[in-house]
Symmetry: C2
Subunit: 431 residues, 2 copies
């Protein structure tokens, strides 16, 4: 007997059904905005990740040398791959480029609640627009996806921030500050003690007093005050954040957003508006997912300057949020019909099953040569709504029996009239 690898999961049908429902909801929401599905490789050259994130990223990757001597890695995220794809067909693709896809990614990291070594994300991105409407459309997609899952404004909030407000403010305190390192410190703010946080900021080049003043400003979050203090760059970033929120208002997503400048997103490549989705009740303390603008990445991959903004909800944290909110579909498998054979009636049963399937129904029939009772038990185990009993005796009278599994009631109908023109006849239709 073989065991599964740690951090990897098998999804049996009962576990897969609600996941499929979540994926469908996310993808439907994206498709309705005109995002188009793409499909991407599971392996890429390791250098793509090293160039972007430094040699230390390799420790978190499933990286190895393939049989052709290439250094390759299982993709830990989609962004570098889509950047590569945009660069490869830059001239042909009409802008804005709007793509989505759902697939697994892999990271060699500590396994903990809601975090695995193989994890699924739905990535949704817009390339080629720097306008606030693009940021807002990403927020609106995310809001539609979550409300489509049955979540409400009571369940989640988008904490919206802006990289250039943070960066500009930090530079206003000290022109020589290491803004990237300081923003990484901001990203850790909620996870560490305040003294440690201030220490990280001073490691990045602020004095302790500057770090405290900076923290006071961003936690107070008064955008007018921040714009005034920070100078022109910060003022225009504040203006951009306000434009994004105004567009989000028109797009129906503003009600889910709150400005939260201490939300920073850990990844270095974000450039403008960034946001993270949180559980409003606080029961799930970590960010559920995040997104934002990354205007420099395509150029750093050798492409023409191409602004970009995106979001990537992960299935595991989303399922935690849905479970917390009581909207995770725990429902069991569903089956429209079980066509039960008694005696030598397979040909008629098969004809009925085929007619019902052609109308789009989920239909099971015996493939195990089982008794009436065993077939009934199986029909019950797959939650068949209706059982069509095709028995030799009934057939001799030109009839089949239709049984409603909910009520246990049944009736007989002429075999040649079943299912007839009806797509999904139930006992009610027949009585």
């Amino acid at each position: 007997m073989y065991d599964r690898l740690k951090g990897f999961r098998d999804f049996y049908p009962e576990e897969m059904a609600p996941r499929r429902e979540v994926i469908d909801t996310l993808e439907d929401a994206a498709a309705r905005y005109g995002f188009r599905e793409i499909s991407t490789p599971a392996l890429e050259r390791t250098e793509m990740y090293v160039d972007k994130s430094g040699e230390e990223i390799v420790e978190e990757l499933y990286a190895f040398e393939d049989r052709g001597g290439r250094e390759v890695s299982l993709t830990p995220e989609l962004t570098p791959t889509v950047a590569r794809m945009v660069v490869a067909k830059q001239q042909e693709l009409s802008k804005p480029i709007k793509w989505y896809s759902t697939r697994p990614f892999w990271r060699f990291e500590q396994v903990q609640q809601g975090r695995f070594r193989e994890f699924y994300q739905t990535n949704v991105d817009i390339f080629g627009s720097s306008e606030p409407e693009a940021d807002a459309e990403i927020l609106a997609f995310a809001a539609d996806a979550l409300t489509g899952l049955g979540l409400t404004g009571e369940d989640f909030e988008f904490r919206v921030s802006h990289r250039d407000i943070l960066g500009g403010l930090l530079r206003a305190f000290d022109a020589d500050v290491d803004a990237r390192e300081a923003i990484r410190a901001v990203d850790k703010r909620a996870k560490v003690e305040k003294t440690e946080y201030l220490g990280l900021l001073s490691d990045a080049g602020l004095s302790y007093e500057q770090a405290e003043a900076f923290d006071d400003l961003v936690t107070a979050g008064d955008l007018d005050e921040i714009a005034e203090f920070g100078g022109d760059d910060v003022a225009s970033a504040v203006e951009n954040l306000r434009e994004v929120l105004a567009a989000a208002e028109d797009f129906g997503a503003r009600e889910f957003c709150e400005v939260s400048l201490t939300t920073a997103r850990g990844l270095d490549y974000y450039t403008g508006v960034v946001f993270e989705c949180f559980d409003s009740t606080g029961e799930i303390s970590r960010s559920v997912f995040g997104g934002g603008r990354y205007d420099d990445l395509i150029e750093s991959f050798g492409g023409q300057p191409t602004p970009a903004v995106g979001v990537a909800p992960g299935l595991a944290p989303l399922s935690l949020l849905c479970q917390r909110a009581g909207v995770w579909a725990e429902e069991a498998l569903t089956t429209d019909y079980y066509v039960l054979t008694v005696g030598d009636t397979r040909d008629v049963a098969a004809r009925i099953a085929r007619d019902l399937r052609a109308a789009g129904n989920v239909v099971e029939a015996d493939v195990s040569d089982r008794s009436f009772g065993a077939q009934m038990g199986y029909a019950d185990s797959v939650n068949a709504e209706t059982v069509v009993i095709v028995g030799e005796q009934d057939l001799a009278n030109g009839e089949v029996t239709v049984k409603d599994m909910g009520s246990g009631e049944q009736t007989t109908v002429p075999v040649e009239e079943f299912p007839g023109e009806r797509a999904s006849p139930t006992l009610e239709d027949l009585d």
Copy 2:
């Protein structure tokens, strides 16, 4: 600029759309038979493949040691993984177990037409029934999937064979024959010269005369003659093959089947009926996909004896078949509505877009602050059927303009009545 790995593919939206259509068709067909979706890891322990296929399989795998010191491989096929899953929950799972899934697999092999290092398959399996109805249901699923794609009996055929007929016949010629090796030779029959084929059979232990007589028998394919010559084991295998075909007749798949005993399926783990789907016109010379019965695998994985039968259509060879038959959906992207803004009308345009999306339409709107002409050009590039022009002047009159992009005709409608109660109003509905 980074390059893609050899044998791996990027699918842009225009390439992905027809692939998604094929996947949906296959999965819908499986779901209508009551197969249930599962999801499985991309990595497994390498020993699982070595134990099953021998050490030499490693040369074809993406195998490596992970950071925890485990020997792991990118999954080259699904069957060992589902066998592991069946064994892990053997007691809880009610039989028959009917599963499907679509996902990529990976093999380090020579890249050629229709064959890649990363390739997608839809696996469909039944565990727990040794009855001919189970084999026939797999054939019926495959037939429904292919006809669902628009293919007909003119386009494809299932060449059906039986491992125990081949094995029994071989042993009837010589009890000491290496039946596995001989069956592997039969699998190569169409790909090599006849003398080489007969040589492979004699390597497996037949004399040259026996090899010729064996080949005459299986190519003639007279089942009565074969049953008589081969003895009891062969006669009962012939009976089983006939029962499967009779069930396939009831299930509507018999018309696509022809008995072809030289079809052997290369993999060692098949045990009973096996089949391969071929292009009826012969333009695609290789098998499109195959399947069959593998009754011993679960037990060899440490489980209770559990009969099994399955099939795994691959997307790349299927797409070749569909292209050859002229049923590959080359159609471009579709968009129901483009909502065009002229001037400061974003709030109204956004309301209209949201209403149309809520009704399930694919709706794009400007996220790039573009001119009327640029928006029209974009709407055309995404094949928008209808453009809703929300202009400042029209709005002053309480109207929007609805333009049919096919005919170029347009009309104005009161803005508060659009889209109104209609889910997908077209110009025709409005005139």
